[in-house]
């Protein structure tokens, strides 16, 4: 519960209409897309500009009220679940594209702009903002930056981090700072921009961002390769990369994923295939043509039983958008869908897929796997029922083994979803206890009162995990 005094101060900052604490609103901001987590906040605040954000932060810091910045709540790590109560900060008033600078190839945005609108605004002037997380048509850019979101084009173009070159940040003490700028080069001190990208809202609030744009690729081609077994598909991925081709997209779907995606999207995906690769290449027409030819040959060499290239832009778009629905479509099969994003160096894809299947068999679980095979970012997805406590216990054990295997292969516990609450118990597996401690020290230095999105990434106190 917020003290009346605190509530009054929020209202005096943002106005009555921008502070709500009725039970329906509190419940509606108690969750994100990590369905197993839910916690009711004490208020929902919608600031209208960066100064209001700063004032709110000052009040929160003074009264030790937790703040959870939230975009559209599409993250999969319980990153915006207000686990320690406090206020949820939403950006419905801060949703403007402030500038597209065609000379410096940058776009300046407020945090509440939808990712898709960033993509489209860039496209409208012949430029390109490559990051395209699965939820791009509803996710907000502020959330993407805080989670360092990936997407289908990570292999060739990188992730959100690679396109954020400047930020305006409200620090936990209420100071407003600006980092980076419209600069390709800038080594003035620590790279705070990079620190805040992917900080999951635990170090401060992003109130403006300058994004880097690149020229729109001239053309794009999309193709499908079908396999009778998983490993052959995984080996193709390694073969493509080994042959010095970097496709823009190299997505992998196993049979169970293909079946549900087809059932939902009805785009004619071949459900008899045990594994599918969805491959895209973009660039100059002659390069695309040559690469697609080479990839086709590599697919066949690696035992693809069918390879086809999309004939029209619509057909290609259908295929990629069908892939985007994979996660949600999988959830049709069972009440609860637990999606992970264990990631390995791409050379280890085949080993990782094999390990996932073995672990699933060992625990007798239904785990479907799809993901961004090209960048080693897999999405083993367990179909289960949260009400079945015994099975959930097994799911947790299985995923812990999957994470351990990923780390053992030189990978990570999370490639693009973030740590949030979901991966918090496993962070040490990837970064080590000393690594967690280093992060904790950064947090302590910037946010000594622990007001910024507390309970995420790592525990407040150092806990020694003995298992």
């Amino acid at each position: 519960m917020l003290k009346q005094e605190v509530k009054d101060r929020f209202i005096s900052i943002v106005g009555e209409e921008n502070f709500v604490d009725n039970n329906a609103s509190l419940l509606a901001y108690s969750y994100d897309s990590a369905t197993q987590y839910q916690a009711i906040p004490d208020g929902v605040v919608a600031p209208r500009n960066n100064h209001e954000v700063a004032e709110i932060v000052r009040v929160c810091n003074e009264h030790k009220v937790p703040i959870v910045p939230r975009g559209s709540g599409t993250n999969l790590c319980a990153g915006t679940t207000p686990v320690e109560g406090g206020i949820v900060l939403i950006f419905k008033h801060m949703n403007q594209i402030l500038e597209i600078d065609e000379e410096n190839l940058t776009m300046t945005v407020q945090p509440g702009v939808y990712t898709k609108d960033v993509n489209e605004a860039a496209k409208s002037v012949g430029l390109f903002y490559p990051p395209d997380p699965g939820s791009q048509h509803i996710s907000q850019i502020g959330g993407n930056i805080s989670e360092n979101s990936g997407g289908l084009r990570g292999l060739k173009y990188g992730v959100t981090r690679d396109y954020v070159i400047g930020l305006e940040i409200v620090l936990p003490n209420g100071e407003i700072i600006r980092t980076g700028g419209k600069l390709a080069k800038d080594v003035a001190g620590y790279d705070l921009t990079r620190l805040y990208v992917g900080a999951e809202g635990t170090l401060g609030m992003i109130t403006e961002a300058t994004l880097k744009l690149i020229p729109q690729p001239e053309t794009k081609k999309t193709m499908l390769a079908l396999y009778h077994d998983l490993e052959a598909a995984a080996e193709t991925v390694s073969a493509i990369i080994a042959n010095r081709i970097i496709p823009v997209t190299l997505e992998f779907l196993d049979q169970s994923t293909v079946k549900v995606v087809e059932d939902y999207a009805k785009v004619g995906l071949p459900t008899e295939a045990k594994a599918i690769l969805l491959i895209e290449q973009d660039g100059a027409p002659e390069v695309v043509e040559r690469d697609i030819e080479k990839i086709t040959a590599l697919c066949r060499e690696n035992k693809a039983f069918d390879v086809s290239v999309a004939q029209t832009a619509e057909e290609a778009e259908q295929l990629t958008s069908a892939r985007r629905t994979a996660l949600s479509a999988l959830s049709r099969l069972k009440p609860t869908t637990i999606l992970e994003d264990a990631t390995v160096p791409r050379s280890e894809i085949a080993n990782m897929v094999k390990a996932i299947n073995e672990i699933a068999a060992k625990y007798d679980l239904n785990i479907c796997t799809f993901g961004h095979a090209g960048d080693g970012n897999l999405h083993p997805t367990c179909l289960t029922d949260a009400r079945n406590k015994e099975e959930i216990e097994l799911v947790e054990q299985a995923f812990e083994e999957i994470f351990a295997k990923a780390v053992q292969l030189g990978g990570t516990i999370t490639g693009e979803h973030g740590v949030g609450m979901m991966k918090l118990p496993y962070l040490h597996m990837k970064v080590g206890e000393a690594g967690v401690e280093a992060m904790r020290n950064i947090k302590m230095a910037l946010d000594p009162n622990y007001i910024m999105n507390p309970g995420k990434v790592f525990a407040r106190e150092r806990v020694v995990v003995n298992k």
């Binding site: 039970n23 329906a24 509606a28 939820s135 509803i138 949600s328 479509a329 049709r332 609860t336």
Partner: protein, 452 residues
């Protein structure tokens, strides 16, 4: 305000009526958010989104929150357009959850007096009885023809009603005479080689206020090669009841309809109102717990087909069709699109008419805000949604807005009137438009319906 006892009653009703498995199917991915008109119009308020509403329902069932006024408002403000179902990759049947939630809230009957009266008049005393519909529509006719309408408009007595109702009164079509409404055709022969035998679901509103559109529908079916029966014993589809929490009445009407149409022995049952069709197509779900009716309901539901869909199947769009040169645009009926998945057919038909330039308006699939009696009980939000719709319609420079459902049609007419565009724009039902195009192209002088 609700007292504690009332809240407990509603909470209990939520537990009994809400399909919890369906709630669990929501993964909270948020893909539904941009499709939801109330989410967009409330400035992206999660409370007024499909994901938010499902979370609220779950919260009430789980006992995390009590069913407060705000919870009720969220459920009330939903248009029930089901655009979220089309957007949902997990296949959550939101329309059903909404009906269950409304059933839970309204069985406890905690409505404001005017709404209660309105619902009582519409749901219990009017729609179930076609003779009363005819009676009321007859009165409307007297009002329109006797000069009373002019008098009412002049004296400003209409200003006592909410704005949407006031304008609605102006745009209602000239209704047929009582005698015409009572003497409806029951059997019609095809006017070309017979291809199908169909039954026509005439609907309560459609067969009174929009009687002319019903005549146009059977005429089109005749031209397309259908023998048509129009069972006399049919009743209102029950959609308005079902969507508003009066489920028991909806079931009664479903049973009457199943019986009436079983006797007809036809290939299809044709509707020309998207709202009715989407409800008829789910009779199997409505009666799923009734062993005696389940299978019969299933057979009935499988035969339901929208007029546009059967016309395309019978290749009506390949016949000569022609109208004076004009731009036309189409407003989807939410329940035709999201409920019956009929999306391309109306467009295919419109694009086949000579001289007509079809221009799709932006967000044609977004609800127009009519939504049953929504534009009366949630007038403010409805008008906000309509303003956006008219803005998009005007951008197409269309002379005609075509719709496929009576509610949408009235709402579009209302929008045109509100914007002061009556001299440049008109709204028509797709069957009236198609009939005109067919008769013009084939040199047929518009005639009385051909009776058997």
């Amino acid at each position: 305000m609700m007292d504690t006892k009332e809240k407990e009653r509603i909470q209990q009703a939520f537990r009994e009526k809400i399909d919890y498995d369906e709630i669990m199917n929501c993964t909270r991915c948020g893909f539904c958010l941009p499709s939801c008109p109330t989410y967009v119009e409330t400035g992206h308020d999660e409370v007024h989104s499909p994901r938010g509403r499902i979370a609220l329902m779950k919260g009430v069932v789980d006992g995390d929150i009590e069913p407060s006024e705000e919870v009720k408002r969220s459920i009330d403000l939903c248009l029930g357009c089901r655009a979220c179902e089309t957007a949902c990759p997990s296949g959550v049947k939101f329309g059903r959850l909404l009906e269950q939630a409304r059933d839970a809230i309204y069985q406890s009957n905690n409505q404001s007096l005017p709404v209660k009266l309105l619902r009582g008049v519409f749901f219990e005393n009017l729609f179930p009885y076609q003779n009363r519909m005819i009676g009321l529509t007859g009165l409307l006719g007297v009002y329109q023809r006797s000069g009373m309408q002019k008098l009412a408009q002049k004296t400003g007595v209409m200003n006592l009603f909410p704005e949407s109702m006031r304008t609605m009164e102006k745009v209602l079509p000239q209704v047929p005479k009582r005698k015409e409404m009572k003497n409806r055709p029951r059997h019609l022969r095809p006017l070309s080689e017979q291809k199908k035998k169909v039954a026509f679901f005439s609907g309560c509103l459609m067969d009174t206020i929009f009687m002319g559109t019903n005549d146009a529908t059977t005429k089109l079916l005749q031209y397309a090669g259908c023998e048509i029966v129009v069972p006399e014993k049919q009743a209102c589809c029950g959609a308005l009841h079902g969507h508003s929490g009066e489920v028991n009445q909806a079931k009664e009407m479903a049973k009457r309809n199943i019986e009436a149409f079983e006797e007809a022995e036809v290939d299809y049952i044709i509707t020309n109102a998207g709202g009715c069709g989407a409800f008829l197509v789910e009779y199997d779900h409505l009666l799923k717990d009734d062993p005696e009716w389940k299978e019969r309901a299933d057979t009935f539901a499988k035969k339901i087909k929208d007029i546009t869909s059967v016309l395309v199947e019978l290749e009506f769009h390949k016949l000569p069709l022609e109208l004076p040169v004009q731009i036309v645009t189409y407003q989807d009926s939410c329940h035709l699109k999201n409920g019956q998945k009929t999306f391309m057919e109306p467009r295919t038909l419109l694009q086949s008419i000579d001289n007509v330039d079809y221009v799709e308006m932006k967000d044609a699939s977004r609800c127009c805000g009519s939504a049953g009696i929504y534009n009366i009980v949630q007038s403010e939000m409805s008008m906000q949604i309509l303003d956006y719709k008219m803005e998009q319609a005007q951008k197409t420079k269309a002379k005609t807005i075509v719709t496929a459902n009576p509610g949408c049609l009235l709402q579009m007419k209302l929008g045109i009137e509100r914007e002061g565009l009556s001299d440049q724009m008109d709204a028509v039902h797709i069957v009236d438009y198609l009939l005109e195009a067919y008769e013009k192209a084939n040199g047929i002088v518009a005639s009385e319906p051909v009776h058997a």
